[in-house]
Assembly symmetry: C2
Homo-oligomer: 422 residues x 2
């Protein structure tokens, strides 16, 4: 039998009834002979409730100033849900023990509210597993070198689970969530979207960063780095379904190149409508220009996504990039007031009503013409492409927001991603 890590999200831990079902499901795996480690999120709503209290007390200042105390506060949610799950497992007749991040310890950087895991000591967990206990490790949190509590940022419980699985060299890390796997695209946009039985780590990374919000991107990076077999599956199947069936369900994220030999060229269509584009036109094409433009944006803590600079004509070039739509107005102001005057650029344009659509597939590495097939498909639908950006396994285009659904549906069909008729 194997060492298995289960991770349950806030919805799965949302009430004592649901926690009881998680205990029954974990119990099924433990009784089948597996060594079980469980990483639960806080009960749904709890983290928001706690942070809302903090906001009432300190509405004015930026949350960074309170980082250490916000982490002390928010980390209590996972500690409570972990203890409750341990109690539920004991009530099911299974020996169980819960550990807060500092007790393992899960050592992290000191970047409060967005710390990164540095190391995990597996001694305590291994001793308990050997003694036949189910071990519960609080997600989302750790402890820094100074003994201060840290949190990993929203969705950090996924990362905790993968990191624990890596430290323990677990056979598989199962992420139980409220979706039943990774789809070729969002089923709300394309009814024919199909669940992928497997998806490569690299594809998952591109899909996660492109807005398929199934898994926190850092958890996927971690899984890739340590080659942790990762499965996304539903926590809403009945807890007593056949274990072998459950173990095959959802989507497995894989790391072995060979497995993908026969995979489709394109695995999925990702999209993101929360973006805005900004172009600085007629910029002198001299060294340091990208830093001059984006430095001020980065200083304002604004994330930049796609960046494009085309070849120059007559010593001038055009520089475009996309930012989160919520940061659009602020980014435009910074450029207008601080950057353009010193830059001698001719023009600043922007559009908050754009979206990004991407095709993702590890097969694109070895197949030519995939991007051009994408462009032809969009052209046939009369959709104008505003920006293009490519990587080894992804091609993204920026288009007018109003064409998003049309583009996603057309591409989904063009690349044969539809569900097979039963």
């Amino acid at each position: 039998m194997a060492l298995i890590v289960h991770k349950y999200g806030g919805t799965s831990m949302g009430s004592t009834e649901r926690i009881g079902n998680v205990a029954k499901r974990v119990g099924k795996w433990a009784r089948a002979g597996h060594q079980m480690v469980v990483v639960p999120s806080a009960m749904s709503g709890e983290t928001n409730r706690l942070l809302a209290l903090a906001k009432e007390l300190a509405p004015a200042r930026h949350s960074d100033a309170y980082g250490r105390e916000l982490d002390m506060l928010a980390s209590t949610g996972e500690q409570a849900s972990s203890a409750l799950l341990a109690i539920a497992l004991q009530a099911e007749g299974l020996e169980s023990v819960s550990y807060a991040g500092w007790q393992i310890p899960i050592k992290t950087t000191s970047a409060y509210t967005k710390a990164r895991i540095e190391s995990i000591d597996d001694t305590r967990v291994r001793t308990d597993l050997a003694a036949g206990k189910v071990v519960i490790v609080t997600g989302f949190q750790g402890v820094d070198a100074g003994g201060n509590v840290t949190t990993l940022g929203r969705g950090g419980s996924d990362t905790s689970a993968v990191a624990v699985a890596a430290a323990l060299k677990a056979a598989e890390c199962l992420i139980y969530t409220d979706v039943d796997g990774v789809y070729t695209t969002d089923p709300r946009v394309v009814a024919e979207a199909r669940r992928l039985h497997t998806v490569s780590f690299e594809e998952m990374l591109e899909m996660a960063s492109l807005g398929s919000k199934v898994l926190q991107i850092r958890s996927v990076e971690f899984a890739g780095k340590y080659k942790v077999p990762l499965r996304v599956l539903s926590s809403f199947t009945p807890w007593d379904i056949d274990l072998a069936e459950e173990a095959r369900s959802g989507t497995l994220i894989t790391f072995e190149e060979d497995e993908h030999m026969e995979q489709a060229i394109v695995s999925g269509i990702a999209f993101n409508r929360d973006e805005a584009k900004i172009s600085v036109l007629g910029v002198p094409d001299t060294p340091g220009i990208a830093y001059q433009i984006l430095g001020g944006i980065a200083d304002a803590n604004i994330d930049v996504d796609v960046i494009i600079q085309n070849v120059s004509k007559e010593g001038k070039t055009d520089f475009s990039f996309t930012v989160n739509r919520a940061d659009y107005a602020r980014a435009m102001d910074i450029l207008k007031e601080r950057v353009l005057p010193s830059l001698g650029a001719l023009e600043l344009t922007g559009d908050p009503k754009i979206c990004k659509v991407s095709i993702v597939g590890i097969g694109m590495r070895s197949h030519v013409g995939v991007a051009s097939k994408m462009f032809r498909c969009l052209s046939e639908e009369g959709i104008n492409i505003q920006m293009i950006s490519t990587s080894e396994i992804k091609t993204s285009v920026v288009i007018d927001e109003k064409y998003m659904e049309l583009a996603v549906r057309a591409l989904h069909k063009a690349f044969d991603l539809e569900q097979q008729a039963a």
Copy 2:
């Protein structure tokens, strides 16, 4: 200026508005130049909410089985309120940091849900105080030698505050609560009850154990052991009242014998109506008889309060004791089924409708006739005394429950405890 410890109860921490007021009050003390350490309880209702969730998950088994996890769970309440108070203080412009029990560390025994403090490391707190920070230490919790979270049992935050004050050799430990001090008796029973400006540690100990629920008894023991000046005062005065006035308010619990030279002989009247009496009559007066009777009661985890055994007549004696009324039926069953058959006792009688009334005063040590004054007073009211028990600074009588208020009022008057006319 001095090193001061403040402790705030759950009601004082009951909402963000109240936490904001606590921050303002602490800020007033800090700005006056004091080094401030604050020990807050969980927000009122939070501990009950958490333990109710645990009970839903494990209704059947005894809570001892879940002790470790119950402590992991319940300790989150104080961690959250401490972090919130740190945020509120920072919002007030004061540097502040909160520490969970394990971070100090506050080392305790491993007796989950009722651990006892063994040691407190003051290094971290002293460093922060020297740097001008307000230090917040979670009440109610600690960590055992194995690195497991423990709690001190209900009301344990008082004990935490006193222990922290002792470790830091604080000038005073102020317990802010929803009463404004220690009274000569319960003002709900005797309208003329008077607030004591000072009360000796020994008197407070007797009053606390006799049911004056102002302070957790263990905290008073701790204060006595380490000679921590302890003040009970109201958290419902406006936060901005004059600091000197606030520092004089409430009741100071003192340890210096000299201070009591001119004190009244009797300081207060305590009472407890939650008791029941049990008598075993005609017991053979042989060694080991008390253990035979009370051993079975103790094994069933039933607390015994007053114990009386009178001189024997013809080799037989009568043995009486009181227990909490909730344990009365169980105690009677144990005696009937397990103890009496092997004891050869003649008769078992009991009465759940009794109460205990006590006069408490350090002056009783040096004054004769105090007890007889009590008995005369009760006799004049026609109240029959069923049991009498005395200690150096206390005389307790067990009487019929229905006479309780009458007895308390009469004694309060007889010992001149009424409020002086203004």
